[in-house]
């Protein structure tokens, strides 16, 4: 049974040395009870206490880290079923499949091409997390060469999709000091795969089509001393995949069910399946090919779902200069929700026209939400105009408000005497044409 924070506290040194990063042993104990930290952070805990705490200290879903040359992809350590209950922590790693069936030069070319993929989304850089090398040729030597080629083209972690232990061993032998993921051990090959994972320090995916079979296999493999496991539940429909993933997550979090307390891997075949993998609990997502038009929305979805709901991403309220505005240029006002800010800022910047962008403190909400919640009204906008000294920066007092809050224009004219209030478009995408035509 899981121990309470107080029970855990009694087993700790109680010296408040702070080396774990928390101010007191009690604070650390509370975090341990909530399964948000690992006991290993305490350097002074006794062996005896360690054994007692092992159960309580382990997170319900084991943290698995794939590593290569300084790059890491983490999965696991999740604590909730629904993101609003707290948050989802480790964004699932997105991997691209490369088949060893291709010519070596083509393999390299594919990876080099995919490595160039980079997106800037609201100031965050999005990229591929790694590559999954698929054993399809039936030739172990060819497989090792393919892995070598991929490794030369990228420094990111690898997944070896190869159920033949001998070929996998040959593949692993070309890799240096890194932690790849082997996919997968099943009822027929598990002993050889477990031995190989142990020898090479690789993580090992375990596959079966039912929870009974999966948990039986993980127990056997743990018995061989391999702890870093990933679950690959086989499902031939989206419905079955959703049920299995939900059941596994529930068992781990609600029941602390050890033999299924591992992150999940998914191999979605359609965009819809990829979306489900992100929302419903996959820790590693392997796409069948490099397609930027799917990767971009998928990485954005991952970013959205794994945003901490308690902390909307905000930008600092203030007066921002875009395209070097002069005192005669217009002032556009919006809220400090990051997505709102970046949508507007990108459009104004893209228009090539100079403008002042006034970001009002709307407690990190978008225009409509903030307006509905009373956080983006005439009073708040007027306050932003005054507190950021906008009148001192511009000679022409012209303020453009978002089209969604057109109703505020009358009140604003009262709040800001001497200002011309203009109603802009509802959507950021229409700002450039509005600026060209109407300003």
């Amino acid at each position: 049974m899981a121990l309470s924070g107080i029970q855990i506290y009694k087993l700790l040194p109680q010296t408040n040395c702070k080396e774990c990063g928390f101010p007191t042993c009690l604070a650390f104990a509370m975090k341990l009870a909530a399964k948000q930290v690992e006991l290993a952070s305490c350097p002074y805990v006794s062996e005896e206490s360690k054994a007692q705490l092992a159960e309580s200290a382990a997170p319900p879903i084991r943290l698995i880290t794939l590593k290569a040359d300084g790059n890491e992809v983490k999965a696991g350590n999740e604590v909730v079923l629904f993101r609003h209950e707290k948050t989802f922590y480790n964004r699932p790693g997105i991997f691209i499949t490369v088949s060893d069936d291709l010519a070596i030069d083509d393999i390299k070319k594919q990876v080099v091409e995919a490595e160039k993929f980079a997106i800037n989304y609201v100031g965050i850089n999005l990229a591929i997390d790694g590559y999954a090398v698929q054993y399809q040729s039936g030739d172990a030597g060819k497989y090792a060469q393919a892995i070598q080629a991929v490794r030369e083209a990228t420094k990111k972690p690898l997944i070896l999709v190869c159920a033949e232990a001998k070929a996998a061993a040959q593949g692993l032998s070309v890799l240096g000091d890194e932690t790849p993921l082997l996919v997968a051990a099943d009822t027929t090959n598990w002993e050889a795969m477990a031995d190989l994972a142990k020898e090479k320090g690789a993580a090992l995916a375990v596959t079966a089509d039912s929870l009974d079979a999966l948990s039986e296999l993980t127990e056997k493999i743990k018995g061989k001393g391999v702890e870093d496991l990933v679950l690959y539940p086989q499902a031939d429909t989206l419905g079955k995949a959703l049920v299995l993933n939900t059941q596994i997550r529930r068992l781990a979090i609600k029941k602390n069910f050890r033999s299924l307390g591992y992150p999940l891997i998914a191999f979605p075949q359609t965009p819809a399946a990829a979306a489900q993998a992100i929302t419903k609990y996959a820790g590693f997502v392997v796409l069948k090919e490099f397609k930027p038009e799917l990767l971009y929305p998928l990485l954005v979805l991952r970013q959205n779902i794994y945003t901490d709901p308690q902390k909307p991403i905000q930008v600092q309220p203030g007066l921002y200069e875009i395209n070097a505005p002069k005192p005669t240029d217009p002032v556009l006002v919006t809220t400090n929700f990051s997505i709102t800010y970046f949508s507007v800022a990108n459009e104004v910047e893209g228009s090539g026209l100079p403008a002042w962008l006034l970001v009002a403190d709307a407690e990190g909400m978008s225009v409509l939400t903030a307006w509905a919640a009373g956080k983006f009204d005439a009073e708040r906008i007027a306050k932003a105009v005054k507190s950021f000294g906008v009148a001192e920066k511009v000679s022409r007092k012209r303020l453009v408000i978002p089209g969604h809050v057109a109703v505020l224009s009358g009140e604003l004219e009262e709040e800001l005497p001497g200002w011309e209030i203009r109603v802009g478009p509802r959507e950021a995408v229409d700002i450039p044409s509005f600026m060209k035509m109407a300003l």
Binding site: R83, L260, A372
Partner: protein, 320 residues
């Protein structure tokens, strides 16, 4: 060792809402659409089967929406010039329901008249046998004027009239009540605001089994996580027994996704955004799928390929 899977047992369930009426029921629809009725979270068949499958509604306009993405206009082609042809094409593309959006102005540039709106709605009703929702242009006074005329001219059809918002719901609810129609109640991504509007509508004596709620969503990349979590919380509240949240949810991923730059703009964007058409469709499909995972009962879509992909995904979700 057999694994004992923990099952949630819920006190509440979602109401069943029937959209459209057949000739026997006082309307002219060939098919009615039943949504809702869930006794567990969507698709978790080990707890309870979904009694009614989530539906795909298709948005059409009374006149060609020239501001729509070229990708969409090209996909539908000339039918966008004629709402009856568009409704038929939507039916052929797999629509379970049509959502007809009325424009604020007609072809002549003048404000849309109730007579024209009624004519269009009746034409669409005779062109297809599917259930129909009719949304006003989103300006309170005009919405009321148009929707009252439409409701009276189609009495008994069990149309879905939209949109009721906290600042404008009384007239629409009253005409729906008098003419045997349904309403959609929209609130901005908040559990309590959604409940409050449902209470206000119910207080008018309008039966809740004729209300769909639209908790609003953002598009992927533009705040979808707020809508996603509001919907999960609404559905959990419904299952826990909160009567004012026990309504089927309708959301508009098509509208949201297609107003993003990623879907709308094909030129002058980073190369890493990939193929425009596929990206735009993916934007809509991923937005819709995410909302289906958070228990949407009706998703309103725009592109024929998205309709195909989302319908296929729903079929797979129900084939657990």
């Amino acid at each position: 060792m057999p694994v004992d899977v923990p099952k949630d047992t819920w006190a509440g369930s979602v109401r069943v809402v029937t959209i459209g009426a057949t000739p026997a029921e006082g309307g002219t629809r060939q098919k009615v659409l039943k949504v809702g009725g869930e006794k567990a979270l969507s698709y978790l068949s080990f707890e309870a089967e979904m009694p009614n499958r989530p539906a795909v509604a298709v948005e059409i306009r009374d006149r060609r929406p020239e501001d729509w993405s070229k990708v969409l206009l090209d996909a539908w082609g000339d039918v966008t010039r004629d709402p009856t042809a568009w409704a038929k094409a939507a039916e052929a593309a797999g629509a379970d329901m049509i959502v007809l959006m009325l424009s604020a102005t007609g072809e002549d540039g003048k404000t849309l008249t109730p007579e024209t709106a009624v004519k269009t709605v009746k034409a669409v009703l005779s062109a297809v046998g599917l259930p129909l929702a009719v949304y006003g242009p989103g300006q309170a006074e005009l919405d009321n004027e148009l929707l009252v005329a439409v409701a009276e001219a189609t009495k008994g059809e069990r149309l879905v009239l939209g949109i009721c918002e906290d600042k404008n719901y009384r007239t629409i609810v009253a005409t729906a009540m008098a003419n045997d129609h349904l309403v959609v109640a929209r609130t901005p991504m908040d559990v309590n605001l959604a409940k409050q509007l449902n209470i206000l509508i119910n207080d008018m004596g309008f039966p809740l089994d004729r209300v769909l709620m639209d908790p609003t969503t953002g598009a992927l990349g533009y705040g979808i996580e707020y809508g996603y979590s509001a919907m999960e919380r609404l559905r959990l509240a419904a299952l826990q027994g909160d009567a004012m949240t026990q309504l089927p949810m309708i959301v508009t991923p098509g509208f949201e996704a297609w107003k993003t730059k990623e879907a709308k703009v094909g030129e002058g964007v980073p190369e890493a955004w990939g193929n425009w058409e596929e990206r735009a469709i993916n934007w809509e499909v991923l937005t819709a799928m995410t909302l289906l995972e958070s228990c949407a009962d009706i998703v309103v879509l725009r592109h024929p390929e998205s309709i195909r992909q989302v319908k296929a995904a729903i079929n797979e979700l129900l084939a657990a």
